[in-house]
């Protein structure tokens, strides 16, 4: 067990709790920097994880820290993506300027969406954001001049200050840099009065108000900040997928984002990233399983004789080729997490850490009193 000796107030304001933790993060960073040479085949998928990480941060700030659940975040992603492509390819603005403008635009949209949030709480707000997402998707479809409607529009590779980021490796590093920047900025907000005010709103609006938190201002700020991060992710996302069409930014994507923060663990930045890894990799795992699981089942039952094993092979094959398997598995995992680990992957992670740091004296009751923040009463 490691003991933390706190000797100054400044120690509570540092990014990392102590040198050991900082070194672990440094090791992680080194691993991430070496990754393109370790697993070149998966680099494109990993870039998506990093972009989803930004999306996770965005929704974590809003849902996990301010307690405002949104089902419309795919719309912000879309606005960021289309705005960025329009600014760079139609208006010919430099890449950085375009990203800044796209972020400013989504952030302003976030303010507009945040305004009704001042009057609505819980599920009603969620439904309002859902409606917003549907409207925006319709706008993407109809506004031919900017979005090229259902024909879709191809996206050029990013070129920043004359440097091309066309290669997978270069794009990976671009995404990594933006994710680290996003993490740093979000962490800064969370250790400042603004982040605390968000948490206060999440846990008790009435007490927050009595402490002098202007609910309207801070909720709008949370929406706007969350939208801004989503806009940034959108700009990268556009390059990642290389082709924009309105149906990409569907409600399903919004649901995936929400899944990301719930499965990752509401109320922690780690959770946002764990969730991103989960949501980005699950489809990859499922599609690989489609190819290999029937074979495993077939060879696993080989001892039972040829007829039985080929029947098992065919059954497994039919099962994994079912359409809708993916959302089904997503849903199942979500339900299991809410039932057994409401604090998500991050909650599990913390328990594992405590288990090993207190080994062999771990008490099962350590986490008994901890309750999930996502209680039903929160959705009044």
């Amino acid at each position: 067990m490691r003991f933390l000796f706190k000797t100054s107030y400044a120690q509570d304001l540092t990014l990392f709790t102590d040198g050991v933790q900082r070194n672990w993060y440094l090791a992680l960073l080194v691993a991430l920097v070496l990754l393109p040479w370790l697993v070149p085949a998966y680099l494109v998928d990993i870039s998506l994880v990093l972009i989803y990480g930004l999306c996770g941060l965005s929704l974590m700030a809003l849902a996990g820290y301010t307690g405002l659940v949104s089902l419309g975040h795919a719309a912000f992603l879309g606005i960021g993506a289309y705005a960025h492509v329009y600014f760079t390819q139609d208006l010919g603005l430099p890449w950085i300027v375009s990203v800044v403008l796209a972020v400013a635009l989504t952030s302003a949209t976030g303010v507009l969406v945040g305004l009704p949030a001042l009057r609505m709480t819980g599920v009603y707000l969620t439904i309002a954001t859902l409606a917003f997402a549907l409207i925006i998707q319709e706008v993407f479809t109809r506004w031919d001049h900017v979005t090229h409607g259902l024909k879709g529009r191809p996206v050029d590779k990013p070129v920043i200050f004359g440097l091309s980021f066309a290669s997978d490796t270069a794009f990976y590093f671009l995404c990594l840099a933006f994710l680290i920047a996003g993490l740093w900025v979000t962490r800064n907000l969370l250790r400042s009065p603004t982040g605390r005010a968000w948490i206060a709103i999440r846990d008790s609006e009435i007490a927050a108000q009595s402490m002098g938190v202007n609910l309207a201002a801070y909720k709008t700020m949370a929406f706007s900040y969350s939208a801004a991060l989503m806009g940034l992710a959108g700009a990268l996302f556009a390059h990642k997928i290389g082709f924009l069409a309105p149906d990409i930014f569907s409600v399903l994507l919004s649901i995936q984002f929400l899944l990301m923060v719930v499965v990752g663990g509401l109320g922690s930045l780690h959770g946002a990233l764990f969730g991103a890894v989960f949501v980005a990799f699950l489809p990859v795992v499922i599609s690989q399983a489609r190819d290999s699981v029937p074979g495993w089942v077939g060879s696993g039952t080989a001892l039972l004789g040829h007829d039985l094993s080929s029947a098992a092979f065919r059954a497994a094959d039919r099962f994994v080729k079912q359409p809708g398997l993916e959302p089904g598995i997503f849903g199942l995992i979500l339900v299991l997490f809410i039932l057994f680990e409401p604090l998500g992957i991050y909650g599990r992670w913390v328990k594992l850490k405590v288990y090993f740091s207190t080994f062999p004296l771990y008490k099962q009751a350590t986490f008994k009193r901890q309750r999930a923040y996502m209680r039903s009463e929160r959705l009044r």
Binding site: A197, I199, S204, S210, M211, V213, N214
Partner: protein
Amino acid sequence: MTFFKAEGLGVNFGGVRALDGVSFEVEPEQVFTIIGPNGAGKTTIFNLVSRIYDPSHGRLVFCDEDITRVPAHEIAPRGIARTFQNIELFEHATVLDNLLLGRHAHKRSRFAEELFFLPRVRALEMEHREAAEKVIDFLDLQAYRDRLIANLPYGVRKVVELARALCTQPKLLLLDEPSSGLSVEETEDMAFWIQDIRTLLHITVLMVEHDMSLVSAVSDQVLALNYGRTITQGTAREVQEHPEVVKAYLGG
């Protein structure tokens, strides 16, 4: 100068008249207690002062300023802090974070500075921390500093809520049943703290309380309410002996 005054306060919830023409004045550095049976309108007064409800009649004056229509979040910066009857802490934050939230009324950093955690933000955070630490020392909360509220026993939460209110550095402190749910020893501590808050920190206390021994130990003035109306006002002894107060409590 008027420190705090309520004039003809009235509030209706639908057809129910929760408060009906209640007036009182609190002098600086007083402990002023409101008593009354359940449903007398005590907590309603608090919710009017902290501007969670709008009064139907009457007005509130604090430091010569009419605060009847001030928005709820501008009450704390003016120097009024409160605790809640059913503890409204930020459950999934640490004790320290809760106390630092009490410093929100003194926030001076801007959003853009916080994004990059500029040195000024850091310096301001250190100042807030120092103010919070003073309160931690005052209320003996050192052992709980980094604990999550969700893991704390009820009695400690009650003290944390008092601490959070003190962190706003108020001129007027509203305590809604500070002793409810506390053990005898904890109630005794609370009595000492209320006295210290008045005499050492020079904070005026407006309190709702049922425990008459605590009321008579610390109060300078007591106001008795029943069914939203004032029965009487005076020292603890005078009020306790007032025939209508006895009647209100014991029935008659």
